[in-house]
Amino acid sequence: MNPPDLKYTEEHEWARADGARVTVGITTYAQDALGDVVYVDLPATGTRVESGQPFGEVESTKSVSDLYAPVSGTIVERNESLESSPELVNSDPYGEGWMVVIEVEDVSVLDGLLDAAAYERLVANA
């Protein structure tokens, strides 16, 4: 269920590299644990984010969770549709529910993230 072409973090974000542009969202497991996503707080474009550090928040009716940057870089795009339709994070976490695009200096940093198999083991043991 977790696309094999993506990279994953232990905090349940996914990252998809397209050259230096890395699209980021949260996993199916994360959105299911959160329940109905009702609000996503994302940084403005141009904001510098650091790998492993919180860059935003995702809120459900039940709780709030930090979003952690899988890679360091600069926010170059944010998913504006989440402002009016945060439920896209639940209905299509790997597609329409994407959150930001981070531009990285060095794409090799993605190699330090989990692959789909390793992430699935992590979730299975959660």
Partner: protein, 377 residues
């Protein structure tokens, strides 16, 4: 298996597990938090019909010639004005005027049916036991044998009727016996052999703001009643939706918005307190009322995005003026709402800021309900 072996299980536990509910500990019980999505369950109740398992609620049967005078002393509302067939909201105060619990008292032909919050059931029982003449009344905890289903929403009357229960001519807070034509009743068993005379209690009540019915029935027939209610079109709804629904109405939750540390003068729940009836805590209540509110429980509607939670500091012009006690996303309004105790100088219509994890959310002080719903309609 319960999520915690210390928790009590509802008679409907197997139904919740079959529906793959997320279970949670609540007031000592293992109860459904949601069946997948709080927002959809909330909408079902506002737009159609939802059914909640409220079997965790305390249920006390108070009977005998001294039952009325006992409850008049134990609880704040004027129970002598309550006629058989009617129910009212009331409070149980401690000697210092703090709120031990908020609850409903139903009066039936056979006596009183008292329904406290699960977590406070034993405290309310102790408060009642301490009042009146023991020889003149009997107090029985009938929890072990009773389930409660709350069927709520604009279509609730149709659903309950289709499930085999007649609710015609019931006005808001009417109550009567629940004569269940149950297919699984044991032959030869009289309805009066059950936990309450008549077999059960049927009331038009609830805590969602919608038209709704609460059906207290013998635990043995709860499963088949639940199945009929679902078959009639009700969506199962959990405690998550119950919380967002009650908060949209501004109804306080004991343990969160009201507690032994809060007064009905501040809450403000004085409408359910009738000085002169001799209730426990009356002197302290009257003194607090004369002193005036030290703070006021108010509604807060966020202007813009962001969701307040409980225990967020509220400021005006940079100065602390209070704290939230409940906060959530309102599925109906699609914005953040909260209840909180504010400085009494703050008025409806004032602008304040709620500190949510270091971020300042602008909000307007409002008089609940946040949504235009009326359970009497």
């Amino acid at each position: 298996m319960p999520s915690d072996p210390q928790l009590r299980q509802s008679p409907l536990d197997d139904r919740h597990r079959a529906l793959d509910a997320t279970m949670t500990g609540f007031g000592g019980w293992d109860m459904p938090l949601d069946y997948g999505t709080v927002v959809a369950e909330h909408r079902a109740v506002r737009e159609g019909c939802g059914v909640f398992d409220l079997s965790h609620l305390g249920t006390l049967r108070v009977t005998g010639p001294g039952a009325e005078s006992t409850l008049q002393q134990a609880l704040t509302n004027d129970v002598s004005k309550l006629v058989p067939g009617r129910a009212h909201y009331t409070l149980c105060l401690d000697g210092g005027g703090g709120i031990t619990d908020d609850l409903l008292v139903y009066r039936l032909d056979w006596g009183f049916f008292v329904v406290p919050n699960a977590a406070n059931a034993s405290a309310v029982r102790a408060a009642i036991d301490a009042c009146g003449d023991r020889a003149e009344r009997d107090v029985a905890d009938v929890k072990a044998d009773l389930a409660c289903l709350a069927i709520q929403g604009p279509d609730a009357a149709d659903v309950v009727t289709a499930a085999g229960v007649d609710v015609s001519d019931m006005a808001y807070l009417d109550v009567g016996p629940l004569e269940l034509a149950s297919p699984d009743a044991e032959p030869g068993r009289s309805l009066d052999d059950g936990p309450v005379p008549g077999g059960g209690v049927l009331a038009r009540s609830g805590y969602t703001g919608e038209r709704g019915y609460e059906l207290f029935c013998d635990a043995a027939v709860a499963g088949s009643l639940w199945d009929r209610v679902l078959a009639a079109g009700a969506a199962p709804a959990g405690l998550g939706a119950r919380d967002t629904l009650r908060l949209e109405m501004g109804y306080p939750l004991h343990g969160q918005d009201i507690s032994p540390a809060t007064s009905p003068v501040d809450a403000p729940l004085g409408w359910a307190v009738k000085p002169g009836t001799g209730f426990t805590g009356e002197d302290a209540y009257v003194a607090a009322k004369e002193a005036g509110p030290q703070r006021r429980l108010r509604g807060l509607r966020v202007l813009g995005r962001g969701i307040p939670r409980a225990r967020c500091t509220v400021r005006r012009d940079g100065s602390d003026v209070g704290e939230t006690t409940s906060g959530t996303f309102s599925p109906t309004l699609r914005l953040g709402i909260a209840l909180g105790y504010l400085d009494p100088a703050i008025q409806t219509g004032d602008r304040v800021e709620i500190d949510v994890r270091g971020k300042s959310l602008p909000a307007e002080v409002v008089r609940p309900p946040f949504v235009d719903r009326d359970p009497k309609a």
